[in-house]
């Protein structure tokens, strides 16, 4: 995330968080132009600043392009989508739905955030441990509820034996919520991040040819695979890895943007 083309001098900007903190660092020059053109309040200017950059070819050559429209909309929409996913999951007993559908919708919230704020940033925000805990923990919870009834002398998932009030209803809800919803959302998030990274041949270079038809595509791929290799300490590592393979290409890409 930290070392895309176009931000060549600003390689040390650390933006692993979901904020757009590096916007002004990235786009200093044009921000000045806009600021002189229309002197407005700082808060209002933040929105006006990015507009010219979206049309800049240089910005389009970076692996992740911020879109103010998408980011603002996702900020508003995603809490509602997440709540709706929870509703579908928890209310599966009284209306259509259940853990499978609700889990898919909750995973879709993560997709939404990833598309708006960058897949790599979302990957670092949502640690691998969380994804694995959802997927494996869900399976273990499902199996645990089933095996608990066997330990109590019944059959697999014989809910009547659970020592809780309304054992059948709440046992089923437990299976749907703790089991199926967690498994589905965890696995879908995992598949999303896996496919976003691509195929790893073992030498840290993901096979990514996306955008070969445009110039500036090759060095971007180099950067992205370096990011993918060490998602954990991308801040330092990716810069080094990017230099090894695409350091020269880096400079050319920046030139490209400048010339156009």
């Amino acid at each position: 995330m930290s070392d895309h083309e176009g931000s060549g001098p600003d390689d040390d900007v650390d933006d692993a968080d979901l904020d757009d903190a590096d916007l002004d660092a990235d786009e200093r020059e044009d921000a000045d132009a806009v600021a002189t053109a229309e002197p407005v309040l700082d808060t209002a200017m933040a929105g006006a600043d990015e507009r010219p950059h979206l049309s800049r070819v240089e910005r389009q050559a970076t692996p992740y392009t911020e879109s103010q429209v998408i980011m603002a909309t996702v900020k508003v929409v995603s809490p509602f989508v997440f709540t709706y996913g929870l509703f579908i999951t928890f209310h599966g007993g009284g209306s259509p739905g259940g853990g499978f559908q609700g889990g898919a919708i909750m995973a879709a919230v993560v997709f939404m955030i990833a598309f708006a704020f960058g897949i790599d940033a979302t990957r670092q925000w949502l640690a691998n441990a969380a994804v694995v805990a959802l997927a494996v923990g869900g399976t273990l919870a499902f199996a645990g509820i089933g095996l608990a009834t066997m330990a109590l002398g019944g059959a697999f998932l014989q809910y009547e034996l659970l020592p809780i009030p309304k054992p059948v209803t709440y046992g089923m809800e437990g299976v749907e919520i703790l089991g199926i919803a967690a498994i589905v959302s965890g696995v879908l998030m995992g598949l999303f991040f896996l496919l976003a990274v691509g195929f790893d041949r073992g030498d840290g270079a993901a096979v990514t040819d996306g955008g070969r038809d445009r110039d500036g595509g090759h060095d971007r791929d180099g950067d992205r695979s370096a990011d993918a290799a060490d998602a954990a300490d991308a801040a330092d590592h990716a810069a080094a890895g990017g230099d090894g393979e695409g350091g020269a290409a880096h400079a050319t890409a920046t030139d490209h943007g400048g010339n156009r």
């Binding site: 259509p96 919708i105 879709a108 879908l188 990274v197």
Partner: protein
Amino acid sequence: MTGAAPLPAPVVAEITAIEASLFVFVVVTAIVTALARDVLAAVIVFGAYSLGMAALYTFYRAPDVAMTEAAISAGVTTILLLLTLAKTTRIDHEIAFESVNWPAAGVVGLLFTGMLLVIPEIPAVGDPDAPVWSNPDVTGYYIANTYADTGVENAVMAVLAAYRGFDTFGEAVVVLAAGIAALIVLHREVFA
């Protein structure tokens, strides 16, 4: 919920216009998905196919299936396919559609004809005498006893989580196994 009383016949007669339009929509999208030369176009049209299919399921009072189709097929699958496409190169095509492989089309046509011949034997939509409704041991039991047995109103969920809970456990493990298989195929050790 889905175990509601069968549709009265007049309703079935009234709704055929929507039904027919939806069928045309679904069939056209399916054919275009199969024949589109550009993969991205195929993915987009496949998303439209899922939209139509889910509307059809909704129409036939299968809201749980429609929800799954909408959430998984229209939402998640399209995005996963797009992510995969982002890793591929694009070949610019002058032609929009594949040329039809006529022997393959013939085989598909034969299969289609065979399925058409079976259709008259299938009970009509909402037919109260259809075996799936009139079966007192399975469907009838679920509809009659779901609430008394489990305390939930959605018979589909009761079947999934209680009556056929072990099957669902197998499905859940399959989903987990799919995630692990993706890890193995992509030579990765962590999801995120």
